[in-house]
Amino acid sequence: MNHQCHWTEIENIFMPREATIVRTATPTPMEKHFTLKMADGKPMTFEPGQIVEASLFGYGEIPLGFASSPTRENTFDLVVRTVGRVSSAVNKLEKGQSIFIRGPLGKGFDLNKLRGKDVLIVAGGIGLCPTRSLIQYIMDRRTEFKRFVLFYGTRDPKQQLFLEDLVAWRASKDVEYFETVDKGDPSWKGNVGVITTLFPKVQITPETRVVICGPPVMFRFVIRELDKLGIKRENIFVDLERRMKCAVGKCGHCQINDKYVCVDGPVFAFSDIQGLEEAI
């Protein structure tokens, strides 16, 4: 065999660690926002855009993106949408209970490529969760970045996540925040229309670094806008979602052509995947 180490010397990648829920919030009827702390007291060290496998014994394990920045101390956030077996069970949990975590896993945003540059983040729907991690990071280390523009679109106003954050961002000078909904309601005073309708509202330079995270259909339209703006493909970063079972590059479910979303991503430079027929 061509590998030297003995299995007993290596940590078992399938063994989770216990994390305790220190706070919960329910931003929408479909989502629950958890703030967690590792039960052993050790901090969780990760990069924005990385993921965890979160599990409840008997229910199963699911991939989730970090929804907070590593710059915030000792705790980390996850936001879970009620979808199926595991997510429904997780969303019944309350403060004091445990979630079992493996991670951090995967490749997050390459911050070195964003530092010192203008940054545009385009987040659609639940795609705000993994990008919130990056948003918080940029806000916390604001001086490391140049201009910071954020687009956020949801289906309707009720789908909006992180309402407190939104209030803060609307008021903040640190971020140029634009939001839209596909369909408004009587209380909605803001922009109505798909996320690409926000582009004319602001001047985006060709040197801007762009991060996209949202449903698959959104990608295609946003990329078309960015092409028009002359933004290079290697400066566009996308956060992809695929079925996942192990999130450590073994189970095969998340493969896009020859890439594994869980270890090669979930964040990819668009230039690295544009040749992959199965990517977008």
Partner: protein, 342 residues
């Protein structure tokens, strides 16, 4: 490394001694076919097998492998490897094991596989009978098997037993071996080379050319759709493949409804919902919805995607998928030769 010889008559005793000393898994008859099973007596050993139904991967990566046990919020890993000898593996299966060794060890090291693998001593054996769909003679010739601890070759009146590792060497104490003569060693080389010519199926091109051209055929939707018209999405071509290792993970409770386990099961990328995700609100998205798309993914993975990493194709030419696909459409040789002829 040593090369030893053992006479036919004494070979039986050697196997019997081995079986008495340690668990031995080896090819045995299973109805009209063969399977690697725990050897209960030397008489059951069938080194004249052509190919087994399942590859030996099942010993390191079983069809259902428990990852952990839990009781409430307490949990323990379920890694309990058994020291054993895997006896009589053909070289194409050793090549496949080399691949899974690499893939399970790289990046995130998978102890669930590696523990079983490291507890195993592999004795390869020459191919006495070539299976009717084999094409190991023309696939990935640039890659050579390396994971075995010893190699057994049947010649004339006995067997030559070559050892490559201390684990392989250790087995020789169970038998009445004598040093192999130069003639016998030459015979080994001849026997093992000859078998490569006997494959009933042959690829027309070298792996590197194949990797490029097959990859280029990705967008030939018509080709893939046609190839897969009769596909049942049954995943047999995956599950019987020695280089496939996709899995699903499921949690279940025991009857006490408190304790239970997390288990991984062989999965197959040809099955319909392999790449399906739930998007909430009852919506699902299947990233490979068409039979042709799933069919294509397997061929791409075998012939092209992994080549840079493995130094050759992720196919070893055992012919298991060819012979076990009930629709008889899975044969990589036919598909690849067809693409190469386009």
């Amino acid at each position: 490394m040593t090369a030893l010889f053992i006479k036919d008559k004494e070979f039986h005793d050697f196997v019997a001694a081995l079986v008495g000393a340690t668990p031995v898994y080896a090819p045995v008859a299973k109805r009209s076919l063969f399977a690697f099973e725990r050897l209960v007596s030397a008489d059951a050993l069938r080194l004249d097998y052509d190919v087994t139904i399942l590859p030996p991967k099942k010993l390191f990566f079983p069809p259902a492998q428990e990852l952990l046990k839990f009781t409430g919020g307490k949990f323990t890993a379920s890694v309990h490897p058994e020291e054993k000898v895997l006896f009589g593996v053909h070289f194409y299966d050793v090549k496949a094991i080399d691949q899974t060794d690499q893939l399970f060890a790289e990046k995130n090291y998978d102890v669930n596989y590696m523990a079983h693998r490291q507890a195993t001593t592999i004795v390869a054996s020459n191919i006495q009978k070539v299976s009717r769909r084999a094409f190991f003679g023309t696939v990935g010739q640039e890659v050579h098997p390396k994971g075995h601890d010893a190699y057994l070759t049947k010649i004339g009146t006995g067997y030559v037993f070559e050892t490559f590792t201390p684990k392989g060497e250790a087995l020789t104490k169970h038998g009445n071996f004598e040093p192999a003569t130069d003639t016998q060693r030459a015979e080994v080389v001849k026997v093992n080379a000859a078998v490569l010519e006997q494959c009933p199926e042959k690829l027309t091109h070298k792996s590197a050319e194949i990797a490029t051209k097959v990859r280029q055929a990705f967008k030939n939707e018509e080709l893939w759709r046609e190839c897969a018209v009769d596909c049942f999405s049954c995943g047999t071509c995956n599950t019987v493949c020695p280089t496939c290792y996709c899995f699903d993970v499921q949690d279940t409770w025991n009857v006490d409804q408190k304790s239970g386990s997390r288990t991984r099961y062989w999965d197959a990328c040809l099955t319909e919902s392999f790449a399906t995700i739930s998007a909430g609100g009852g919506h699902v998205e299947n990233f490979r919805e068409e039979r042709g798309e799933r069919f294509r993914h397997r061929i791409m993975r075998k012939a092209s995607y992994l080549n840079p990493k493995l130094g050759g194709p992720a196919c070893v030419g055992c012919g298991r998928c060819s012979s076990q696909c009930t629709a008889d459409i899975a044969d990589p040789v036919r598909i690849i030769n067809k693409i190469m002829a386009l």
